[in-house]
């Protein structure tokens, strides 16, 4: 035993919803006839991840070392009752929180970074590469790589890199290498810089650089969200929650989470849908990125750079650029295919939350629960508060996933 947290709560298998979906999941496809992006994945992803991505097992054994590292980084994360919030809302039902901010990197991202880094090392690669926007994913990648004993290289969108010096510090402290993108370390970046030396960078450019760098240096590329294998790894959230609900003797009537690419949401909700078939489910998105209410359910590119495959999902178009950036993790134009299908089928409801409501929710949450939640998670909290206000006489049990803490993002409260 590594820890006295009740590690028996950490699952030993991940859950993949695909075989349990009501309809068949449309697979990732190539849309460029000249080069296959799926073939590309084949070159830059560990075989184990590819396998998980394309051949869907309902349950996949979590390697023992990964289970141990899960324990080391703070799993199981707590499930607790939000008495302070209940009281502030004068709610007679219950609000339960699953808190992914309790992991050492402060969000759920580490749940998938760990197995990806682990498989990379197991298959003999010496390091991983990825891109990062706000920095959460880059941090999780670096920590996972360091814990697996391999190197990590992070291409961070230059404008973010300059705005968030903390991220550079923490990634370097964790032993990672971080480069503002566009950079001169890839042909792609070099070319962009030769045209515009002051280019601020975009996530698309950073992805292109990361992929090129992985190919050139025989490293593996890490997937941060959207992909099914990522949602599968994130299922630890919901699987733990299921056991914890059993311990608490609770059954949720409502499930709420926030959606960027859909990984924390899917990881949380999908395992719970197996048992709690009648729950109401709400996917909370930013009003500025209304992918479900204004997006289209169609095949679209995963990334702005159109390097990765196309998948069938709700999308605002891979060129969509939301105005505001206060919740960086929710800016993504689409959402994971499985989640998109369930929203499309009506099983999962969506809820667009505007910035002011989210800020208010985060403040109330901080004062009543003592937790500074991540702006992304603030959406889930705001949706929960809205739900309570619209259903005051119900005595339901509302279960909310709080995907991360917001200690590194407090500048959003300055306005």
């Amino acid at each position: 035993m590594l820890s006295t947290q009740d590690s028996s709560i950490i699952p030993n298998e991940w859950y993949n919803i695909v075989p349990d979906l009501p309809k068949q999941l449309p697979p990732p496809v190539d849309r460029d006839e000249k080069k296959s992006s799926i073939q590309l994945l084949n070159q830059i992803l560990p075989k184990a991840i590819l396998k998980q991505e394309f051949t869907f097992q309902k349950y996949t054994k979590i390697p023992e070392e990964v289970q141990e590292i899960y324990a080391q980084i703070g799993r199981p994360t707590p499930l607790f009752r939000a008495k302070g919030l209940e009281k502030a809302l004068d709610y007679n039902g219950k609000i339960l929180l699953k808190y992914e901010g309790a992991t050492i990197t402060g969000s759920h991202k580490i749940n998938t970074a760990i197995p990806q880094a682990f498989y990379t090392r197991e298959e003999g690669s010496t390091g991983v590469v990825t891109e990062t926007g706000a920095g959460q994913w880059g941090t999780a990648t670096t920590v996972a790589a360091s814990l697996a004993g391999i190197t990590s290289k992070i291409f961070m969108v230059k404008i973010s890199f300059n705005q968030k010096p903390l991220r550079k510090q923490i990634i370097e402290l964790y032993g990672g290498e971080i480069v503002p993108s566009p950079s001169r370390e890839t042909k792609f970046g070099t070319e962009i810089l030769s045209r515009n030396p002051d280019h601020p960078g975009t996530l698309g450019i950073a992805i292109s650089e990361a992929v090129e760098y992985a190919l050139e240096h025989d490293l593996k590329y890490m997937l941060g969200s959207v992909f099914n294998s990522v949602l599968t790894h994130q299922s630890v959230i919901g699987l733990e929650t299921e056991k914890q609900l059993e311990i608490l003797g609770e059954e949720p009537d409502v499930l709420i989470g926030c959606v960027g690419g859909g990984s924390n949401f899917g990881g949380f909700v999908f395992p719970l849908m197996r048992k709690f078939k009648e729950t109401k489910i709400y996917a909370s998105t930013a009003s500025e990125v209304p992918k479900f209410s204004k997006g289209e359910y169609k095949y679209d590119f995963v990334d702005t750079a159109k390097i990765l495959p196309s998948i069938k999902m709700y999308s605002l178009g891979s060129d969509y650029v939301p105005e505001k950036i206060y919740a960086g993790g929710l800016r993504y134009h689409g959402a994971a295919p499985s989640l998109s299908m369930l929203v499309n089928s009506g099983r999962i409801n969506s809820s667009d939350m505007p910035e002011d409501k989210v800020i208010d929710a985060l403040k109330l949450f901080a004062r009543t629960q003592g937790i500074v939640a991540a702006p992304e998670s603030g959406h889930a909290i705001a949706t929960a508060i809205d739900y309570v206000k619209n259903n005051t006489d119900q005595k339901e049990t509302i279960l909310v996933n709080v995907s991360g803490h917001g200690l590194m993002d407090m500048s959003i409260f300055q306005r």
């Binding site: 695909v18 075989p19 349990d20 979906l21 009501p22 309809k23 068949q24 999941l25 449309p26 697979p27 990732p28 496809v29 190539d30 006839e33 296959s36 799926i38 073939q39 084949n42 075989k47 184990a48 590819l50 396998k51 991505e53 394309f54 051949t55 869907f56 097992q57 309902k58 069938k312």
Partner: protein
């Protein structure tokens, strides 16, 4: 003997060459042949097969299908069409009738369950009325869909080992096959999509209850009009099949 299934895209690389290849198909080991109807965008085919479609499209004439079928049926090989939903939808029941008249035994529609699952509820019974609908499942097909569609059909089942073919995605054959075999017992299930070596054929046969469908693996012979190569290939497969008995 267990079923071996060969896949050819109609009129690839040309009407004549394909005809000659079909004449060469060995009825002693090949039980079914699938003939793919060329499409502009065969979404769920991998790059190898995709390339055959774009070449075949130029040559394709519907009438050829009947002729291809004739060659095979004469040898006692059953023939199945593989067509994307779009064509079925456009041509309607007409097309199914044409296939039936041409002695095709059934049809596979690879995108039906994925992209047209509502339509499938109507179409499958329609087809099944006087023809065979061959369910195409893959690891992404949900349990409930596998069970429901299986129960509405009676012919064999095509099980794709991965959602797209022709790409070197790793998978664990054992894992991938276990689910389908558990879900649909006592039914002929043939595995295809992503079989890349003769070795793998052996492995798949070893799993017990199923035959194998081969497509991408033969494309090079067709392209090169390499009849000798094709013959050798059939012989190697025969070797594996005999050993598997």
């Amino acid at each position: 003997m267990k079923p071996l299934i060969l896949y050819f895209t109609a009129d690839f690389p040309s009407y004549e060459i394909l005809k000659r290849f079909l004449e060469e198909v060995d009825p002693e080991i090949v039980k079914y042949v699938e003939i793919g109807i060329p499409e502009i965008n065969p979404l769920y085919d991998g790059p190898t097969i995709k390339a055959t479609h774009s070449m075949a499209l130029k040559n394709f004439q519907r009438e050829h299908l009947r002729q291809f079928a004739e060659i095979l049926i004469k040898k006692g090989i059953r023939v199945f069409a593989l067509s994307y939903y779009d064509r079925i939808n456009k041509e309607g029941t007409n097309f199914i009738h044409y296939l039936k008249d041409s002695k095709f035994s059934g049809i596979i529609i690879p995108d039906l369950l994925t992209d047209y699952s509502e339509e499938s509820e109507r179409i499958i019974p329609e087809i099944e009325e006087n023809f065979s609908f061959i369910p195409f499942f893959n690891p992404a097909t949900p349990d409930t869909v596998i069970q429901e569609v299986s129960s509405k059909t009676s012919s064999w089942i095509y099980y794709g080992l991965q959602p797209s073919t022709g790409i070197d995605i790793p998978f664990d054959l054992n894992e991938v096959s276990r689910r389908i075999l558990d879900l649909v017992a006592n039914r002929e299930i043939n595995f295809g999509f992503g079989i890349r070596t003769i070795e793998q054929i052996k492995e798949i046969l070893g799993l017990g209850s199923s035959g194998v469908a081969i497509g991408s693996l033969m494309v090079q012979y067709l392209k090169d009009n390499d009849m000798e190569g094709f013959r050798n290939f059939q012989n190697s497969v025969r070797g594996v099949y005999l050993n598997a008995e």
